[in-house]
């Protein structure tokens, strides 16, 4: 999970807080992100993302938030706080007591939350090390509270300006999801330029037989001066089952204004990682049917760039019904649809008949597809 990846990256510096002077860095990112989902149309998000990093000899606190406004309407507000306290080290060993708290709320009132206690034991020196840890917490996906947990093992090394982390963590979410995330990150700092890359594979234990999924991406930051940087990032991230955020791919470009450039590479990694956090699901479902009165339903569709939108189904005797444009990118129509299960098709710009996003798809017997719409 990306959050776990975040912890992995942060852990590069946290095992040795004594070596780093006490420092506080604040920053705010402003930019635009294009996000693609597997079964939903892509969306564009304009975001503001403040962050605060506090490093003290025996403690650290990282906090950030993301306010995203989506093209066509809707917004989300997400936040994450992660803190750690370090027990004074003994020889090459040090104990970290850490935890995190995350949550989100969107314009429709949906909320998610996730908290995790995560102790670790570190072993290593200034250039390489290992850690073992575990985590236990609860996640709220807007519908159900689930217990989440993980065990992790990772190693890291620094070679001049290059820092690498490789780790694996068995995860469980609720009583039925078991998987292992294996992931690696690499980071290179050269003058004004900072480059990062990451990749991972999720292998499933339960349900048995589920195919592995992978993700990966890269970031590049260029500091124009001590306080201003341009950050570009692209790639993919896996689903966050604790909060119910879907997997997605993304492409982002932001401007970062900071109180100062973080003096250590690792201090920057946590910030750039913000671009890798899974964004909350699209706020306005791409296709929605709500009851106006009786059997009259309001059909709404988000279709950026469309010139015309039509739907048809058994409830229209398969006569196409045009939707009317309502606001930017949204189309709607009031149509009589009785309660029950219906077959439905949709087309945009007089193109081929397809299925509204997010809807189960069936073969239509005529070489095409048809969606299944359940109306209560």
């Amino acid at each position: 999970m990306p959050r776990r990846l975040c912890f992995a990256v942060i852990a590069i510096v946290l095992p040795f807080p004594v070596q780093a002077a006490a420092q506080t860095v604040g920053s705010i990112d402003a930019g635009v992100t294009r996000i693609g989902y597997t079964d939903l149309p892509g969306i564009t998000a304009y975001s503001l993302s403040p962050a605060l990093q506090l490093f003290r000899p025996n403690a650290s606190l990282l906090a950030n938030g993301i306010f995203s406004y989506f093209n066509g309407g809707g917004w989300t507000l997400q936040g994450t706080t992660a803190g750690s306290v370090f027990v004074p080290r003994w020889s090459h060993v040090q104990v970290e007591l850490g935890g995190s708290l995350s949550g989100s709320v969107d314009g429709d009132g949906n909320k998610t939350a996730d908290f995790l206690a995560q102790p670790r034991i570190h072993w290593g020196g200034a250039r390489r090390g290992l850690w073992l840890g575990g985590g236990l917490g609860r996640g709220w996906d807007g519908t159900t509270w689930q217990t989440v947990g993980l065990v992790e093992a990772a190693g890291w090394a620094r070679l001049k300006d290059l820092t690498m982390v490789v780790g694996a963590s068995p995860n469980w979410v609720g009583p039925d999801l078991r998987y292992v995330d294996a992931q690696a990150t690499a980071r290179l700092v050269h003058g004004r330029l900072e480059l990062g890359a990451y990749g991972g594979v999720r292998s499933w234990f339960e349900p048995d037989g589920t195919g592995a999924t992978g993700w990966g991406g890269a970031t590049a930051a260029y500091w124009l001066n001590r306080r201003l940087a341009i950050v570009a990032a692209g790639g993919s991230y896996p689903a966050d089952f604790a909060q119910g955020f879907p997997a997605a791919s993304y492409l982002a470009l932001t401007v970062r204004i900071a109180t100062r450039r973080p003096p250590t590479p690792s201090g920057v990694e946590a910030q750039e990682y913000r671009l890798l956090q899974p964004l909350a699901r699209p706020l306005v479902p791409a296709f929605r049917v709500t009851t106006i009165s009786g059997a009259t339903r309001l059909v709404r569709l988000r279709a950026p760039g469309a010139g015309s939108v039509e739907i048809m189904g058994d409830f229209t005797d398969w006569e196409p019904v045009p939707l009317q444009k309502s606001g930017r990118d949204e189309w709607k129509a009031a149509i009589p649809i009785p309660s029950g299960t219906h077959r439905i098709n949709l087309r945009v710009n007089q193109g081929p008949w397809g299925v509204p996003p997010g809807m189960p798809v069936l073969d239509d017997d005529f070489g095409g597809v048809v969606g299944v719409l359940v109306v209560e």
Binding site: V180, E206, P246, T341, V374
Partner: protein, 221 residues
């Protein structure tokens, strides 16, 4: 005798008019019209609902399918309706038969329909069978979907429980969960919330030993 023949002709004409749905008038070529009329007559004689057949013709015409393809689709649909009628019994409401035909076409077995019908009784089958078809269309393995639906029925689930299950599974799949796991998990929640009589193992999930810790972490392969 002459009056008898006239009466017979009148009956035949009435039957033809009845077979001809007004929505189809003048929209089919004579050959296709004859085939459709024959299928409608046959369905009516077997006590099968005819609306899905008319609906399928309308869909095919709007999508500009060839007459042969339309007739082939109607034959497949008629077969499914007939099998659903057999599985659900002669007294089953038309809505249940239509939903049953969809479930069969999604891959459910007639025995599954019989089991759900036996458990649900007069509670109606259209919603659970529609949800069954929906789950399969979302990628839930048909055996898992059938197990979930039957298990919920055994637990006394209401129509609202089924639609809630469908919404939850859709959401989980949208979040990236494997379809089979999503269905099993949501069914487990529905059963837990909807009953407290502990009806055996959770649906779609093999029973676990009570001694096995719930949060046991699997060893790495």
């Amino acid at each position: 005798m002459r009056h008898f023949l006239l009466f017979g002709l009148a009956l035949a004409s009435a039957g033809a008019l009845q077979a001809q749905d007004p929505r189809l008038e003048g929209r089919l070529d004579p050959t296709t019209q004859a085939a459709v009329t024959g299928l409608l007559d046959s369905a009516r004689a077997a006590g099968l609902p005819t609306e899905p057949i008319v609906d399928k013709v309308l869909e095919g015409m709007t999508k500009r399918a060839s007459p042969d393809r339309i007739v082939a689709a109607l034959r497949t649909l008629s077969t499914a309706l007939r099998s659903a009628r057999v599985a659900l019994g002669p007294g089953a409401p038309e809505g249940d038969v239509i939903a049953g035909a969809s479930a069969l076409r999604a891959g459910a077995k007639p025995e599954t329909l019989e089991r759900i019908s036996g458990v649900r009784g007069k509670a109606g089958l259209s919603v659970p069978l529609a949800v069954l078809s929906d789950l399969v269309a979302r990628g839930v393995p048909v055996d898992t979907a059938a197990t979930v639906i039957v298990h919920l029925a055994q637990g006394g689930a209401t129509d609202a429980d089924y639609t809630g299950l469908e919404r939850g599974v859709a959401r989980d799949i949208g979040a990236g969960a494997p379809p089979g796991a999503a269905a099993a998990i949501r069914a487990r929640v529905a059963v837990t919330e909807g009953q407290s009589n502990g009806n055996g193992p959770p649906p779609g999930i093999p029973p676990k030993s009570p001694k096995e810790p719930r949060a046991k972490i699997p060893a790495r392969p």
